[in-house]
């Protein structure tokens, strides 16, 4: 979607290395979300943000941290990547008044070897 971009689109990294995924939006939405998608689990929420410097954990937050220093950017960091974090990661944006769900980025396929 034009209003939200994720980078990188693909990444292969080694176990134990730190990894940062970036989500950038041009919609000025207050809310941003990081999900991971795994077979049999659908999309599960990792962390979310409800404003600059305001973040909270989702259901699968262990091993992940986030930061939001500007409205437009939401970073997801794997402090020390593990093979269980091999997944497709999606960023999404939304506004509180929107009842149309979210707008999703194109996803990042992360492989930890």
């Amino acid at each position: 979607d034009a209003g939200i971009t994720q980078s990188p689109r693909h990444k292969v990294t080694e176990t134990g290395t730190p990894v940062t995924l970036r989500c950038h939006q041009t919609e000025n939405h207050r809310y941003m979300y990081w999900y991971r998608q795994d077979p049999g689990h659908g999309l599960r929420l990792i962390h979310y943000s409800y404003g600059v410097k305001d973040t909270d954990k989702g259901e699968v937050s262990d091993g992940y941290s986030v930061s939001r220093s500007k409205t437009e950017d939401f970073l997801l960091t794997l402090e020390s990547a593990t093979s269980s974090q091999t997944s497709v990661y999606f960023c999404a944006i939304g506004s509180r008044d929107s009842d149309y769900g979210y707008t999703f980025g194109s996803g990042t396929r992360l492989t930890v070897v």
Binding site: Y31, G40, G42, Y48, D56, G58, D99, G101, F104
Partner: protein
Amino acid sequence: AQTVTQSQPEMSVQEAETVTLSCTYDTSESDYYLFWYKQPPSRQMILVIRQEAYKQQNATENRFSVNFQKAAKSFSLKISDSQLGDAAMYFCAYRSAWGEYGNKLVFGAGTILRVKS
């Protein structure tokens, strides 16, 4: 916490036929939204249809319609006149209507839809 269940990991349909994908959810809330998302092989998440819980009328978008049964907590998606381009993973999702810190989407595990020519 809310949960969403899609009991059909895979479904198949013949081109031009009708198929129904099932979704049930669990919540104690009375006001919420329900969504169906389509994810083709490109990985893009595409909103197909949405339903507001306070509306009794079932939502319809062209060939896509839902059967919303609030008391049964059921939200199925019917695709009529199936086309090859409908082949994708379909996710059912729930979102509370209220929440100070962002209304998080809760997803089901997904149903892979295959369309046969």
